[in-house]
Structure formats: structure tokens, C-alpha cells
């Protein structure tokens, strides 16, 4: 039984936010996403944290803002919460510009990275804080708090102060507190960063179930791509204040929009080269490190001739003599010959580093599907690394 089962789904009656977003013009609300960010910029001194960024997020989405530290993802989140004011651009919630709405009047709640629990208040009063401010009657507050406590499995801890709780329990209090007001949008700033790996993974699943169950819009900021891929429906990858790509986790991984995204999300082998021929939905790219590589034509036609060919390690296969299926599929198979230099056993898979004859080093990840796998390679062994045209992506440079 998931923790979301405890949540009753009646409409939020008493914990209403102070701003009624449904009061927005009807025609605007019809074709408007729940949240629209339009050309928003924010500069700190000479540092442009967010640079003319636009993004639509629909109701009920679980959206992740992913990027390296300093990419502006937290600044963007803080602008949604109202802690920072955009220098330019607009943020529309339900079709209404929320720029003039003060943070304490926004129908948005935030879960802070350090949880920001009030140290002088116990668990119950922390969770009830937002409800009291909303003017909820006492009996309703008690009901809601009990519901939240059950939701995050903190029964019996109501009287404890934050410093009497473990990290995982504090995280749950912070979550309950931010959910208690039933916000239209819940903002989560690196919510799991302080938890250990096992707890983080189970909490990821609980958050997903909770979000699906409540039908709330979650926007999470994270630097952990696995976390973003696991939880989110859509991911916005940010770098230097801009969105590099907004896509589903699968598209982000299998069809990265740029070389930067390909390298940031997951592991990748890159071959730089020039397009030499283009026929039958196949491009041939002459690369320095991998010779002529045949690739499938991308969805968006390549306009430049200078490109990079990206191939994920798990799609780069190894064999002793090269694939025998060559003739069967009648597919052009890209073959790269080299010598295994490093073997990294990871349990579920093994990563091989292969030094190609051209001198370049590629990585191949092979799943260990059988316990007594005999088909392994050792350092110093000569191998053929091969991949299909459909398994690689062409990226313009």
C-alpha cells in the first residue's frame, strides 16, 4: 500500500489559497497551460542566472529541472515561489500574471532543500503552520494534520521537535508541511539530496505515487539525472540560465538535442566528423577517430556538414570477430577495431574501455544477463566494437 492511499481526495475546501487563480479570464484559461514562463531573466550583479527562459508546464505534470550547479534552476524555482523577482518576462499561473503576488499569497508551496523546518515548533505545529495562516478552523486543521501525518507515516511523532527526528523523518515533515495547503503547484528544491541512497530511491517512488494520486503539479529541481529520469514525466535540462532541451526522459536520453545534453545526461561516446553522403535515409559521416560511420537520418534534417555522432555505451557492442548477423539483416554495421584497456565490473553490467586503432578510447557497457557469463573480455584482448546506424544520434556542431 502506497503512502498516497491515506490521502482523501475531496476538493480543497477550507485550505484554499489566498489567490483564486480560477478568477482568471475564461478564454485565457482555456488554452493556457497551468504555468507559463515567458522570456524570464534574472541577473545577480553581472551574473545572468536565468536568461530569457520560456517554458510551459501543464496541470498534473511531474516536471524536473535538471542541470549542473549554478545553471539557474534553483533561481527559476525561487522566482516561481516568489522569493526572487524576474528582471524581465512574465510568469503566468492559470493565465494570470503572478508577478505582483507576494510569496505568502501565492497558491504555490515549496519544499526547501534544507527542509527549513521551524526548530521551535513540533511536527504537528510545523505541518499546521500554513493551515493556521489560511484561517482554517481548528477542527479542520486537526483533521488535515492527522491526514498528513498518516500520509508521510509519521504517526506518534507529532509532539517531537525537528531536532529529535532523523534526516528521513525531517524530510517527511517538510513534505507534509508543503502539501498540507494543497497547493496548485508544489516546488521541490533538491528534496532528496540529504538522504542516503536506499532511502532516496524508496522516497522517489513514494513521491511519484503521491503526485499521481493527488493529481498535483510537481516541479522538482535536481542535479541528479537518475532522480529526474525516474520521477519526472518531462525534464527541462538547463545550462547557463537557458533550457537546452525539454523532453520526456526517454527522448532526452535517446534523442538529445545537443552535444551538451548528450554528454550531461548519461554516458556517451562521441565521434566528430563531416557528412559525406546522404542516401536512403542514411547519412555517412567521415570521422577522424572511427572512420566512415553510417547513421540513421535524424528527425530534423541536418543542415550543417560538421557533426558529432553520439553512441551510448550500452549500444556499443563488443565481439571477438564482429557480428555474424551482418548478412542476415543486410544492415550496414559500423565496426571499430581496438584493444580492451580497462574492465569495470559494476554487478548488473560491465564497462569496457576499448582503445581503438585510431587512438581514441570508447566505452562499452554490457549487461551481465547470465550469472556464469563466459562472454567476457579481458584487458589486452583485441575486440570489434560495433553498433547499428539506428542506435546512434547525429548532433550538429
Amino acid at each position: 500500500m502506497g503512502l498516497a492511499d491515506h490521502m482523501t481526495e475531496e476538493s480543497p475546501d477550507t485550505g484554499r489559497p489566498n489567490v483564486d487563480v480560477s478568477a482568471a479570464p475564461a478564454e485565457a484559461a482555456a488554452d493556457m497551460p497551468l504555468l507559463r514562463i515567458e522570456g524570464v531573466s534574472k541577473t545577480f550583479g553581472s551574473f545572468r542566472a536565468v536568461d530569457r527562459l520560456s517554458l510551459d508546464i501543464g496541470a498534473g505534470e511531474f516536471f524536473a529541472l535538471l542541470g549542473p550547479s549554478g545553471c539557474g534552476k534553483t533561481t527559476l524555482l525561487r522566482m516561481l515561489a516568489g522569493f526572487e523577482t524576474p528582471d524581465e518576462g512574465r510568469v503566468l499561473l492559470g493565465g494570470r500574471d503572478i508577478a505582483p503576488v507576494l510569496p505568502h499569497e501565492r497558491p504555490v508551496n515549496m519544499m526547501f532543500q534544507n527542509y527549513a523546518l521551524f526548530p521551535h515548533l513540533n511536527v504537528r505545529d510545523n505541518i499546521a503552520f500554513g493551515l493556521k495562516r489560511a484561517g482554517m478552523p481548528r477542527a479542520a486543521i486537526d483533521t488535515r494534520v492527522a491526514e498528513m501525518v498518516a500520509l508521510v507515516k509519521l504517526g506518534g511523532m507529532e509532539k517531537r521537535k525537528p531536532d529529535q527526528l532523523s534526516g528521513g523523518q525531517r524530510q517527511r515533515v517538510a513534505l507534509a508541511r508543503s502539501l498540507a495547503r494543497r497547493p496548485k503547484v508544489l516546488l521541490l528544491d533538491e528534496p532528496l539530496a540529504a538522504l542516503d541512497k536506499k532511502l532516496r530511491e524508496s522516497t522517489q517512488l513514494e513521491l511519484m505515487e503521491l503526485q499521481r494520486r493527488l493529481g498535483m503539479t510537481f516541479i522538482i529541481v535536481t542535479h541528479d539525472q537518475e532522480e529526474a529520469m525516474t520521477m519526472a514525466n518531462r525534464i527541462g535540462v538547463m545550462d547557463a540560465g537557458r533550457l537546452e532541451q525539454v523532453a520526456t526522459p526517454r527522448d532526452l536520453y535517446e534523442a538529445p538535442a545537443s552535444r551538451w545534453v548528450a554528454e550531461f545526461v548519461g554516458d556517451v561516446n562521441l565521434f566528430e566528423g563531416e557528412v559525406t553522403s546522404h542516401e536512403h535515409h542514411r547519412l555517412t559521416v567521415a570521422t577522424r577517430d572511427g572512420g566512415a560511420i553510417v547513421v540513421a537520418e535524424p528527425r530534423q534534417p541536418v543542415t550543417k556538414s560538421l557533426v558529432s555522432v553520439a553512441i551510448r555505451p550500452e549500444k556499443l557492442k563488443l565481439s571477438r570477430r564482429g557480428p555474424a548477423s551482418d548478412a542476415v539483416t543486410s544492415e550496414a554495421i559500423n565496426r571499430l577495431e581496438g584493444v580492451v584497456t580497462d574492465v569495470g565490473y559494476l554487478g548488473g553490467s560491465t564497462v569496457y574501455k576499448v582503445k581503438l586503432d585510431s587512438g581514441a578510447v570508447v566505452r562499452s557497457s554490457i549487461a551481465n544477463t547470465s550469472r556464469l557469463d563466459r562472454d567476457t573480455y579481458s584487458a589486452g584482448q583485441r575486440v570489434v566494437a560495433w553498433f547499428r546506424p539506428d542506435d546512434c544520434v547525429v548532433l550538429e556542431r
Binding site: A81, G82, L102, H104, V108, A116, F118, H120, G130, R181
Partner: protein, 304 residues
């Protein structure tokens, strides 16, 4: 393990230092004062009897012990001079501490909100007056508050008053002097607590629907209470025993206990009564100290 070895022994000795300090400079002198407070005044050198003379043997010491009495303490309770001095000291200390809190809190709050760079400068400005002798600063106030002093000149120039106001030798002057002198002791602990507070707590309060004013009362203020306690105590205790400021700035109609003590000791040469007054003062100050200790334990020891 080796690190533990290296540090264990010196650490153990270092722990003795504060106790040694307390015994040498507090308990032993307090013993002397207590003994004098139980003695009788005499025209002699030193001006009280009995004296413990260890050279005259056990019987003499026993006889001396028999002479000790609580007479001086009975006098303190029966004579309204002492009771009114104690009461005045308490009233002055409580009033001053409240004024200090009202002035010091906004200053400390403002300091804690300054950009980091400016905080150090503000801190310097608070401490700078200490570079001048305390006595000189009080004399400077006499200068400012006297009949043709700076304050009256400014008031007259601004036509706020038509004749010079009598400031000196009034309670107002004394409060000005006390508040001026003790303000840093109020500001610094308050500032330390407020500056340490995480700004994300206020953001969380705001996020959960609290207006800035409510955030202050519901989050900032309760979390600053340890600082309020420390500041109040740091001011209250020395103000109760304050002697110089009321002596120089206040009128002579009523005295604080510090002044009474001085009078007994130097003018009346009644060391035993002065000592009894000092012991009684100390006993009076113990309850607030214990209260503070308990409050601090409660805020610090939430984890137990």
C-alpha cells in the same frame, strides 16, 4: 587512538582551570565577605570583630566562631533604607533592561540583515565606544546634560523649549547613562542569535502564507529568545549593582544598593553591614541566573 592519547591528559588538566579560577577569585573572597558580614563593627584595624587568630589555638577560634551573628542581616531587613535601596535597584534594573531591549532589538535586527560586509562595520561601531574609558564617557554625558550643555543648547536653538531643562541629577539622566553604557551588552548577544538564523526559515514562513510581520512574531522572535535572555541578563545583573552611573547622573534623594553599600563601607566605615548588603545582593541575583540557566537548557537540550 593515538590522537586520543595525546589530548586526553592536557585536556583533563585544562578542565581544572575554570574551577581553580572560581575557587580562587570567587569562592575564597566570598568566604571573606561572608565572614565579615557575620561580624560586628569595631573601632579597630580592621574595623570589625571577631578576628580569627590561628596562633592562639583551637579554643580561641571556637570563641571567635561563637561571636558571629546574623545581626547585620536582621538590620538589613528591619531598616527601610536598605529595603528601599534594593527595591530601587530592582526597579532601575528592570526598567533599564526593558528600554535596552526596545532599543537594542531593532538595532541588532537591522545589523543581522545588513550585507555581510557591512555587518562587520556595524559591529565595530557598536564596540568602538569601549575604546574610551567608561568614566570619561559618563563625564561626557554630564557635559552634555548640564544646564548650559549641548542638549539644552540644541533644544533651545530648535525652539523646542524656552528655558533650559534640568537634566542632570534626575532619573532621566541616570537612565540615559545606563542605557548608553549597556547597549552593546544587549546588542551583541541579540545580534549573534539573529545573524545565525537561517533565512530559509523566513522564506518557509512566507511560503506558508505568513506576512512579514507574522513571520517575525511566529518565527524570528521566538527563535531569538535565547539572545533576548542572554542580553537581558548581561544588562540586568550589573545594573542592579551599578554604582558609578547613579552616583554621577542621578539625584541624591534615593539610592541604589550599590550606592548604599559604598556609603556604609567608605563613609560609615561599617564593613560588616556593607558585607551583609553585598551578600544579600548576591543572593537576590541567584534566582534570575538559575532561571536563565534553565531556559537555556530547555532551548539547547531539545534532543534529550
Amino acid at each position: 587512538m593515538s590522537a586520543r592519547r595525546i589530548f586526553a591528559q592536557p585536556a583533563r588538566y585544562a578542565a581544572i582551570a575554570p574551577y581553580l579560577w572560581m575557587v580562587l577569585f570567587f569562592l575564597v573572597p566570598f568566604g571573606f565577605v561572608l565572614k565579615i558580614s557575620l561580624s560586628q563593627t569595631a573601632i579597630a584595624q580592621p574595623p570589625y570583630v571577631p578576628l580569627f587568630d590561628f596562633s592562639e589555638g583551637w579554643a580561641a577560634i571556637k570563641a571567635a566562631f561563637a561571636q558571629l551573628s546574623l545581626d547585620n542581616f536582621k538590620l538589613l531587613v528591619s531598616d527601610s533604607l536598605y529595603i528601599s535601596s534594593y527595591l530601587r535597584s530592582l526597579v532601575v534594573a528592570v526598567t533599564s533592561t526593558l528600554i535596552l531591549l526596545l532599543i537594542g532589538y531593532p538595532i541588532a535586527y537591522g545589523m543581522a540583515r545588513l550585507p555581510q560586509r557591512w555587518q562587520a562595520i556595524a559591529m565595530m561601531l557598536v564596540i568602538v565606544p569601549f575604546w574610551t574609558s567608561f568614566l570619561i564617557r559618563i563625564y561626557a554625558w554630564i557635559n552634555i546634560l548640564q544646564h548650559d550643555g549641548l542638549l539644552n543648547k540644541v533644544l533651545l536653538a530648535l525652539h523646542l523649549v524656552s528655558t533650559p531643562v534640568v537634566w542632570l541629577s534626575t532619573d532621566t539622566a541616570m537612565y540615559i547613562g545606563i542605557v548608553y553604557s549597556y547597549l552593546p551588552f544587549m546588542i551583541l548577544p541579540l545580534y549573534a542569535t539573529l545573524a545565525r538564523m537561517e533565512s530559509s526559515l523566513l522564506e518557509a514562513a512566507s511560503d506558508l502564507g505568513a506576512s512579514p510581520l507574522r513571520s517575525f512574531w511566529l518565527v524570528t522572535f521566538p527563535l531569538s529568545l535565547p539572545g533576548v535572555g542572554a542580553g537581558a541578563l548581561l544588562c540586568f545583573i550589573p545594573i542592579v549593582g551599578e554604582f558609578v552611573i547613579p552616583d554621577l547622573l542621578a539625584g541624591s534623594s534615593s539610592m541604589m544598593i550599590g550606592q548604599t553599600l559604598w556609603l556604609e563601607f567608605f563613609t560609615n566605615k561599617d564593613w560588616p553591614v556593607a558585607a551583609a548588603a553585598a551578600v544579600a545582593l548576591l543572593v537576590l541575583l541567584v534566582p534570575p541566573l538559575l532561571l536563565y540557566d534553565r531556559l537555556q537548557r530547555r532551548t539547547l537540550g531539545g534532543a534529550n
